[in-house]
Each structure stands twice: as C-alpha cells, then as structure tokens.
C-alpha cells in the first residue's frame, strides 16, 4: 500500500539558512506520527511544505500519492491542517466560520449541515456555536481549529503544536480528542513536549536543525537508546562483596554502590544494552544468602532519549568541527 505521506530528500533553504536538510520519511495510512524537536528544528516548515503553503527547495513530497507542488489544490483536499498558533477569523461566529470553511473546502451543499453537526459534536463546541471566536477561551479556539481541520473528512490531519498554550485540563481533552481521531484519520502532529508525543503517537520522528535524528515507536526508541535504564537493587550485606557479586552477573555492564542509612546497600546496576538481568541478580543475591529488599528497573522516558539523541548530535557535530579544524 502506498504511504499517506512520502517525503524524499526534502530540503528547504531560506535566504541564508537551511531549515531542512535532506529529510526523508514516510507516514502510512492510519498512523499517528509525532514530530518532535526543539523550537526551530524544522517542524513547522515541513508541515507548511506538506500543505502546499510554501514550496520545497529540493526533494520530492507526496501526499496520498500526489505531488504537493504539481497537484497542490488536489493535495489540499486530502489534508486537514491546523497551523501553529491556530489563526482564526476572530470577528466571525463559530458556526459562521465553520460554514465558510466548509464552503471553501468544497464540502457539497447537501452534506454541509451534517458535517458541521458532526465536527461540532466531535470537538465539543455545542455550547459556543453562536459565540464570536475572538471572545472564546484558548481551549475552545483550539477546538474550533480542530473542527475546521476535520470538516472535509480529510484522509490526513496535520496539526502543528495542537496543545500549545492550553491549561492542563484542556491539554488532556485535546490529547484524548486526537487519540480518538487517530482511529479514523492518519495524523501528523508536532510538539516539543515529549510526554505528549509519547502518549498520543504510535511513531515518533525526532528532528533537530533540519535533520531527522531518529524515527521509531516510543517503545523501540526506549529499547534502542535505553538511556538511564538502570536497575536499582537494595541488598542487606557487605557492600564490597555485594558489588563484586553483582558485577559478576551476566549482562551487567557496571555497578555503583551507595551506602544507605541502614544496613542495606543500595546498588545501581547498569545492564548491557537490550538485556534484563534482573532474574540473574535475584539468583545471585539469593545464592549468597543476603536479603533482597528492592529490585526495580528505572523507567526510561522519551525525555531521556530525546536528551541523549540531542547530546549525541551535538557531540557528533563538535567532532566534525574539530576534525575539520585538524585538517587545516
């Protein structure tokens, strides 16, 4: 099956700066993909190119099998887009705005009312339907933007920072909404909030300085990078012997002990990449006749990975720079 989005070697140069540098990725139908990166990484630029607002400097971009530059109007019919900061006509009423958007998106006259009712229900806009958009709270405005994106029943939803500026309750609601929408639409959303992407997306693309650094499911990213995947062990026993014993366990890469306030020894065990030696640790402790009080694997969050990937990228760049300097 042909992917919903297919991006090959996408490059975007503005006067003097390269916003995107040879980016390639694909999004399959039905996926919820999160674009993750610090501010200015190239997330919005990619989205603007996908929606045909600005063209690419080089590379191929296809949405639903259509070239976004050649078939721009047709591509736009497949996309529901919510730009960054969700710009809306603040002087219009919600119903009026959605009706206007439905018309310019070419929703047939006969279906317009049904579509309108449907998105109003989906996004919980019933109570504000006759209010002026400029007077709505940020949360409701965000929902108006989402409702607009959904109007023409697009195959693909592109949401740029959909939860920015919302309060925690609103963020939760919008996330839940996105999750629900993911059952029927392909979604590409961007965020610089890690937990958000971790919670809503089935795949994460980490992007920085116009380059893709990693692309995988949150779980796999955790597995591959396993940053900080330490195992905490608390044992009643002599510290030095415990450390030596644990170091000898298979798959253990390193051990660090800290004496506790009581007779228990706290040990942080670093396992080999991709392994889980907890069972072996238990056996080793039990065989020595010590008491085991705690044996926990620290949960790695996407945040750790993100930080790690960014650091690796920075180090790699530093090295490149240094090797260049060396050549001179």
């Amino acid at each position: 099956m042909q992917p919903m989005i297919n991006v090959e070697n996408l490059t975007k140069r503005y006067a003097g700066i390269t916003a995107l540098d040879g980016v390639s990725f694909a999004v399959n139908r039905g996926e919820i993909v999160g674009f993750l990166g610090p501010n200015g990484a190239g997330k919005s630029t990619t989205m603007r190119i996908l929606t045909g607002f600005i063209p690419a400097s080089a590379g191929h971009v296809q949405v639903a099998g259509l070239d976004v530059f050649e078939d721009s109007l047709e591509v736009r019919r497949h996309i529901g887009y919510m730009p960054e900061n969700n710009p809306l006509y603040v002087d219009m009423r919600v119903a009026e705005y959605l009706k206007f958007r439905a018309k310019i998106k070419g929703v047939p006259r006969g279906e317009r009312r049904d579509r309108l009712e449907e998105v109003v229900k989906q996004c919980g806009l019933d109570e504000v339907i006759n209010r002026i958009i400029g007077q709505l709270s940020k949360g409701f405005r965000q929902r108006v933007g989402l409702a607009d994106a959904l109007l023409a029943e697009p195959d693909l939803l592109i949401l740029d920072e959909p939860t920015i500026g919302l309060d925690p309750v609103q963020i939760r609601q919008v996330r839940q909404l996105i999750k629900d929408l993911g059952k029927r639409h392909t979604i590409l959303l961007s965020s610089h909030i890690l937990t958000e992407v971790e919670m809503t997306c089935n795949r994460v693309i980490i992007i920085n300085k116009g380059r893709i650094l990693a692309s995988d499911t949150p779980e796999n990213l955790v597995k591959t990078f396993h940053a900080g995947g330490l195992i905490n062990v608390e044992v009643r026993g002599p510290a030095i012997e415990v450390a030596a014993k644990l170091r000898a366990v298979a798959d253990v890469a390193g051990v660090e002990t800290t004496a506790g306030t009581d007779e228990f020894v706290r040990v942080a065990v670093e396992p080999q990449v991709g392994t889980d030696p907890r069972e072996e640790i238990f056996k080793a402790v039990a065989a020595s006749g010590w008491t085991l009080r705690e044996l926990v694997r620290q949960r790695t969050s996407l945040e750790d990975i993100f930080v790690q990937v960014m650091r690796e990228e920075d180090e790699a760049e530093e090295e490149r720079r240094e090797s260049k300097r060396g050549l001179r």
């Binding site: 736009r76 809306l88 006509y89 002087d91 607009d148």
Partner: protein, 247 residues
C-alpha cells in the same frame, strides 16, 4: 466558483461584522450629504452652467482619498499579520481567487456607498418639477465613471495592502497613490496646458475623465485604461501573495 462566492461573502461580512463598514458609509454620506446641500443651495441662487450631479460627481476625489485606504488597508495586511492567510492558502482555493474576492468585496462596498446617492437624484427629480425634467443620461454615465475609476483605486489599495503586514503602512501607501493619481495629475495637467506632455498628463488624469463622464460622454478609452490597469494591479497583487513561495 462556489468557493469564490464563499470568499466574497466572507469579505462582505467582514466589513459589517466590525464597525468599519458602517463608519466608512457614514463618513461618505456625511461628506456627500453636506456637499449636496451646499451645491443645491448655491444652484438655487440663479441659473448656472452645471447641474448638481455634475458637481457631486466631480467631488468624487474627496471620499476616494480617505475611503479607498480605509476599505483596502485591512484586506491582505491583516491576514498576513494574524496568520489567517495560511488557513486560507492551505484550503483548496487559488491565490488569485482570494485576491479577486477581496477586490470584488471592496468594490461592492464602494458601489453600495455610491448607490445610496441615488436618493439625491430622487430628491432632485421630485423638486425639479416637470418643466426642467432631469436628464438621466449624464447621471448614468457619471455613475459609470465613479465606478470605473473607483474600482482601479481599490485595486491599487489592495496592492498596497499586499506589501505589508501593517495596516497603517498599507493605508498610507494607498493614500499616497490615490493622491498621486488624482490630485497630482490634476495639478500637472493645469501646469502643462499645451504640448505633448500636457496631452499625456490629461490622458491619465482622473479629473479629466470624470469631467467627461459626468457630462454624459461615455468614452471607451478611459474605461479600457482603468480596467487594464486594474488587471495589472490584481495580477501584481497575486504575484506578491505568491512571493512567499519564492523566498
């Protein structure tokens, strides 16, 4: 076509959703109403070579100077500033459709304003009596003139609005171009009375054109001139809106 209508409706609604549309119309009616009253009062003092409507049509520069910037400054500058242009341009509509709808919306508001002055004709007709029946021909061609010149000024104002995110800057630019086109060319045509230069200046002078229109001379040349100038202005505006794509 359907989305063209939707865009146009949105433009017209925008004038009346804010107070702008009402203020502009009120301003116009006050200016024209006072002018009309003064003109009629002056004409009542004795027989004159001109009619009330000729004077009124020749006063078109006064509202144009302020109203064209007022109704066009917002059009594209505000969309750019608020970012709503992105919403518009990622919907399945072309850049030209958006530009043309904005132009058409402003022209319709302008036509509506001038349409209200038909009341003056009704008043004149009522009080003129049967003996000096009002000649409707020059009045009709006067309206054609007002519309043909006005729509070009609006296209210029829209062009100014596409150049900036700042409404005030857009208003000043369109004020300057209307001033240049009406007042300065009028002054120049009085400066160069004869000769080749004088002919050129008079050919582009809106006052000269309006003089003819208001006297019932429906010349094709100025009509073609203004319509093609409008086509140029709208084309340029579309290219400027598109220019986000070349940067």
């Amino acid at each position: 076509m359907r989305n063209m209508l939707a865009l146009l409706r949105r433009e017209l609604n925008a004038y009346f959703a804010s107070v702008l549309g009402y203020i502009v119309i009120m301003f116009f009616l006050v200016v024209m109403g006072v002018t009309f009253a003064v003109v009629v009062g002056w004409l009542a003092t004795g027989p004159k070579q001109v009619t009330a409507m000729i004077i009124l049509f020749k006063m078109f520069w006064l509202p144009s100077l302020f109203i064209v910037p007022a109704i066009t400054m917002r059009l594209l500058a505000e969309e750019k500033r608020a970012g709503t242009l992105e919403m518009l341009m990622t919907a399945p509509v072309t850049d030209f459709q958006v530009v043309f709808a904005k132009y058409l919306g402003a022209v319709m508001l302008y036509a509506l304003m001038w349409g209200l002055t038909v009341f003056y004709v009704v008043i004149l007709r009522h009080f003129a009596g049967a003996s000096s029946a009002l000649d409707l021909g020059p009045i009709a061609s006067g309206y054609v003139g007002v519309l043909v010149i006005g729509q070009f000024l609006i296209a210029l104002g829209l062009l100014a609005s596409s150049l900036t995110k700042n409404q005030v800057a857009a208003a000043l630019m369109s004020f300057a171009s209307v001033f240049l086109l009406l007042i300065v060319t009028n002054w120049l045509s009085s400066l160069f009375q004869g000769g080749q230069l004088g002919r050129i200046v008079r050919a582009i002078s809106a006052f000269e054109h309006m003089e003819n229109f208001s006297r019932g001379i429906l010349d094709v040349r100025p009509v073609v001139y203004y319509l093609s100038a409008t086509a140029w202005a709208l084309f340029t505006t579309t290219r400027i809106v598109e220019s986000r794509k070349w940067r």
